[in-house]
Symmetry: C2
Subunit: 760 residues, 2 copies
């Protein structure tokens, strides 16, 4: 073992190639003879396609193929609901849906040909507002109706809880859809070869789930498809299994039997969907005077847009995840997911957690005020603790939430700032906070949440890791390399991680549900120890001693008993091959955590570990312009053990910025269901200017089920930002915003209403 | 198990992509931003490089770099003798040696720039004839002298053997150098990436040995290099470890930090060397009247050209391999390998066996005549048999040589044709034969001859094989696929073999020494059975029965006891993942045969199995022109068990043609050490017109150490052709040619000399 690798604040192993501009993203992949495709999108939210005339487009010099829904496989694909085709067949269900594709010698020619395709649409009434989706007269998005999913959960006796409560508060919250905003819009290159095999380089969080989706959509066996992950410039949930342009690219390659590249423009990428699920949450909670939550009733209405995708799973998280953060017994949830004639929404960092976090933490703040209790104190009182089993059956192996609360309380100067007199000037400051939890892994994709890692140790004593868990920028490869290097006793620079490739990597689920550190990290730990064992056995044979007295330190196998007994690792690795019965070192290790599938009632310990976080922010509200500015923020993440503190801080800080964007700046604008601000000038993500110095802290609760104590650390951090800001705004100006985003208009309207009520 | 895959005459699994013209050979690899390189070769066999002026070449627009020996690593590389550099440093040792390289935007520009490089040579005396190499006054090729290697082996009492022999015959034989003549001249594309890693696509018989060679020549760790095998259009030994252009390509990529392609022209490829080792063999044998060989004395002088490469190993084979084919006790060999100022020679199909086969089988024919015995009978009498231990310690687990002799005797109509009166017309016919043996594997590359195969079975029940054993056209991938498909019980089309890639495949030695079927085939068998075991265990769990009652037939897992108990393989493969403690099926199996390294005295059972072959040919000699035409040939190969009879026949037939070429048509011409016929118009390989319908037979001796009984089947078949033809020529016209090739000039000279001696 070489110390000081795990736990050290190290730059990402991909840093060099990225900063040199030499990392190859999917859009950079160039295959000889590659053609380019452009996609024609529906301008209508709901319309019947009467006819498509592709003749003029086909006649354009340089055009190789024009493909429409008539050409694509009949089989429909989807996560659980099989309802999409490679291209729309006969009917479009959202403005932006792909109705035709042109393959040409260049993007310019393909783009020109798009304009020559004549589509005759018959517009139909569109359902754009989820509120009316379940009304009898609403336009139907799918023949079977507009209800995509419904969840009902009830634990304990909610009515008795409310009856016995000292205070009850109910309110409705609305959250809007957020664009994942990754640096890299979707891009895919797909190519067939002489064996009929289809190779697809794409930007994905999971090559194996991508392969599964392509196989389904293209109606061919998975083994006839090879998916290779190019460098991924961010995923944030949108690149799990709902993404459509990669499906189209792959299909086009099979049509023209030539390599085809589909690189989405930012507008394309935004029109394609994969935004987060907008929700309306009605929350009713009852508490005792001491702050104890005794009853909770939740009603969720969520909008998945035209196709369900992962939205049912997302809504389930909204519906019940945050219940597990608190010691509550009586809880009831009814959640309905409806279709609308808008872009599909689905997985997004936090996976439904941000929506309920906003409601719950806003609600907690209000009820703390009702009780005259400090909000942090109220959270602390209700917080679940290490060793608890939550209301939904989750075994909390470690919980650093109290420590997170302590950290943010101190860091933001909570007590002093809450105690200061309310401002009366134009610029008024306030502080707010929120507390959250997330899963590290989730036994939801079939009864398995495992990960397999293959580790090769070369003749020069350096290691290659083969995995299909994805580094999409979050640092999975750095985490795996650190564990591998430390356990094997070699320098970090002697470890490389192969890009995920379905033909050479073991089956993995990929980067979803913050599962990679806890599950792949564990598999890596096992594999490294297994390889180390093999190396030490071989070394013992070669050096003529016992394996137990040997260890590997900085690439040298040495005896703990006899300082003269040692051998450089390359020598042992060569000896491992070149001896009777030898072989190259290649080990495989799998870790499937001892979790259980949720039962039909959504009960069960689904994750090996659960992470917690708290965030406190200070805002400054300009009461004249209505602008809210975050002037300070501190987020504390209980990640179990920070394998790489620099990476954890990076995740925390990025998440904090993303939550500020969602809360204050980003706002998708529709007109008749059409996106009106499909670019980064009008869809205003936060820039460096619009955020303060972001601060974050780490709590190491050392989870017994995490590898070296670690839990996931990338999604939890996005959850508390919005309610912390909303609570801080309330603290600053006494206006409670329950409908995201917090726009200047809403602030000014709130201030006006407050003034009115004060004068009334 | 699905029957009728192993043992069936099946087309190669690569047939489709090759016949469609879509297989990607190294020269077809295109990497974005790729540059092209051309190599400047020495026109002199031996010269000091006084200076190289690259300025004009560098000034040519489009030239990116001009590299000379001054720029390359100081470290020398080589198989055992470390004596080569990436480019010649200060001294050239053969005409054709690479002295500079130009990297440019196109091959045309690079070629033009070559002409602008001014090299000032100081010519030195060149040693071109190996015969004088060890004379004191001979020009020295290397400072340490001209003896590259010497082998002395002595068993039994040779002098006593000769003393007791009834007849003794001695003669000197000469064999010439043969060009491997693969369809695909060497090509390599090498590229660096943003992590500093070097990826090399090349035409190689062993990606791991290629990586080792590149690491040594470029003086960097193996793990910083990734070698990927593109489709290989033939290797025949020349693409094992001696090849130099791939080393240059890789180095150039590191210099310009851009992808570089080096594609050799046919002239380039021929000038580079990798021809077979020319030898002079003096053979003296003593026999008893009954034909028993009682003494054998061998003296070999072999020429490795300027660098030793694998030639010492090749000469060792020449020196002693064929001894093991016969029950002899007294044998003595002295073999010397010398350097000359000519192109390096080395590994070639048969690996030194053809040279001695020519001498031995010619000698046997002469001595059969001396004894008045039939040559086949003489071979039969001396043939080693199953269960024997040979004079050099080889355990003959199976020997089908007697059956091979029977087959060729019958097929060629030996008895009738030998009995016919000698011709007297212009066109005279004769028959001749030869018998040979070869290894299947060889424990020579360190104390290991193992092979590791990784087998993945996908969710759809189809399989992917990861190996670094190479298919260079000989059919390794088909063999592995057949064994995998049969053992797993799935269709052959459901198996794919990944192209060898050092970063994802397990460590393997590659396609050398006819080792792949016997060693990788065994590993494949083990891996398939291991995967099958896992599948049946999972199926038993799912179906609720015992694993032993289950088998996989045509992709369905079914109970042998209960016909209603079955499940499609994909269902089980998915279940294998998606269950508690599940994982994707990925197994690794290694087979290292129970062989031993030769001791210092060259004694030891080096191979798990030994293959045998015999060939009979009928020739027609035109006594006016001296032309020899092979009119019939039948080669019988004891391959243990024909995994794929079509492939075995393909190997036999190809080998027969290649041996006809070596014996009658191909002849490398030098002038002052410069190749004078470096193209396929002047270096005349046999065309379809110049060979008869090639026939072959298979003997299945079912070796106990072979997978399913199989032994190697690609090299043995090239061994008997030359002496069979020489013997047939003697049978036709009474002229004994001991100096290959058998040219019309030699025939006419022989006829003239014979006539003269008859008249004398």
């Amino acid at each position: 073992m070489t110390s000081a690798i795990v736990g050290e604040p190290l730059p990402q192993v991909s840093a060099q190639e990225k900063t040199l501009g030499r990392a190859i993203y999917s859009g950079d992949v160039k295959v000889a003879g590659m053609l380019h495709a452009k996609l024609l999108r529906s301008p209508y939210s709901h319309a019947v396609i009467r006819s498509i005339d592709t003749s003029a487009a086909e006649a354009l010099p340089g055009v190789k193929a024009v493909v429409t829904g008539a050409d694509v496989p009949e089989r429909a694909w989807g996560v659980a609901h099989k309802q999409q085709h490679v291209l729309a067949r006969g009917l479009v269900r959202f403005a932006g849906e792909e109705v035709a594709a042109v393959v040409a010698v260049s993007e310019a020619v393909a783009q020109e040909a798009l304009d020559l395709i004549v589509v005759e649409y018959e517009e139909a009434g569109a359902l754009l507002d989820p509120e009316g989706a379940l009304d009898g007269g609403a336009p139907k998005v799918h023949a079977e109706g507009n209800l995509a999913d419904e969840i009902n959960i009830s634990r304990g006796d909610v009515e008795a809880g409310f009856a016995g409560a000292d205070i009850v508060h109910e309110a409705t919250y609305r959250t809007h859809s957020q664009y994942p905003g990754y640096m890299e819009p979707m891009a895919t290159v797909a190519a067939t070869d002489g064996t009929g095999k289809l190779t697809v380089w794409t930007s994905t969080q999971s090559v194996f789930l991508a392969r599964q989706r392509l196989a389904e959509a293209l109606d061919r066996p998975v083994s006839t498809i090879r998916v290779i992950q190019a460098t991924v410039g961010g995923g944030f949930g949108a690149k799990i299994v709902e993404e459509r342009s990669s499906v189209i690219a792959a299909f086009l390659a099979t049509v023209v039997d030539r390599p085809v590249r589909v690189g989405l423009s930012r507008l394309d990428d935004i029109q394609s969907g994969c935004f987060s699920v907008p929700t309306r949450i009605h929350l009713k909670m009852g508490m005792m005077r001491d702050g104890r939550i005794v009853a909770k009733d939740v009603q969720v209405l969520a909008d998945c847009g035209a196709y369900a995708g992962l939205a049912p799973e997302v809504m389930l998280v909204t519906a019940m995840r945050s219940d597990n953060m608190q010691r509550i017994e009586n809880v009831r949830t009814k959640a309905q997911l409806v279709y609308t004639h808008t872009m599909p929404r689905g997985a997004f960092r936090g996976f439904g957690g941000t929506q309920m976090s906003f409601a719950l933490n806003s609600h907690m703040a209000v009820m703390a005020d009702m009780l005259g209790m400090d909000a942090i104190e109220l959270h602390r009182k209700n917080a679940i603790r290490t060793g608890d089993v939550s209301v939904h059956g989750w075994n909390i192996g470690s919980c650093g939430l109290p420590e997170c609360l302590d950290q943010v309380q101190a860091a933001i100067g909570w007590d002093e700032k809450r105690a200061r007199p309310k401002g009366t000037g134009v610029l008024r400051r306030g502080v707010g906070m929120a507390a959250v939890m997330h899963v590290s892994g989730n036994r939801t994709m079939g009864n398995w949440d495992g990960s397999t890692v293959v580790l090769k140790v070369n003749e020069d004593g350096r290691a290659v890791i083969l995995t299909a868990e994805s580094d999409m920028g979050q640092g999975a490869n750095t985490m795996l390399s650190q564990i591998c290097a430390q356990e094997l006793g070699i320098p970090l620079s002697h470890v490389t991680v192969q890009a995920p490739d379905t033909d050479s990597a073991p089956y993995c689920l990929g980067s979803i549900a913050s599962r990679v550190t806890v599950n792949a990290g564990h598999a890596m730990l096992k594999a490294a120890r297994q390889a180390q064992g093999q190396i030490l056995e071989a070394a013992a044979e070669k050096l003529g001693c016992d394996a137990d007295e040997l260890s590997i330190v900085d690439g040298v196998v040495q005896s703990n008993k006899n300082g003269n007994l040692f051998a450089p690792l390359p020598e042992i690795c060569r000896y491992h091959i070149f001896r009777r019965g030898g072989e190259g070192i290649l080990v495989r290790a799998t870790h499937d955590p001892q979790t259980v599938m949720m039962d039909k009632d959504h009960y069960g310990n689904i994750a090996p570990a659960y992470s917690f976080a708290a965030q406190a922010v200070e805002v400054e509200v300009d009461t004249e312009t209505g602008q809210v500015r975050v002037v300070d923020t501190y987020l504390s993440d209980d990640c179990g053990k920070a394998i790489n503190p620099l990476a954890v801080h990076g995740q925390s800080n990025g998440a904090a910025v993303q939550s500020i964007g969602w809360t204050l700046y980003e706002h998708l604008q529709f007109e008749d269901g059409r996106v009106m601000n499909g670019n980064l000038a009008d869809y205003t993500m936060p820039t460096a200017e619009s955020v303060p110095t972001i601060q974050s802290g780490i709590v190491e609760s050392n989870d017994p089920n995490g590898p070296l104590g670690a839990k996931g650390a990338s999604e939890t951090a996005i959850l508390p930002g919005a309610p912390a800001i909303a609570n801080a705004v309330f603290d600053a100006i006494g206006v409670r915003i329950t409908d995201l985003p917090i726009t200047p208009e809403k602030i000014l309207a709130g201030l006006a209403a407050k003034e009115e009520s004060q004068h009334a």
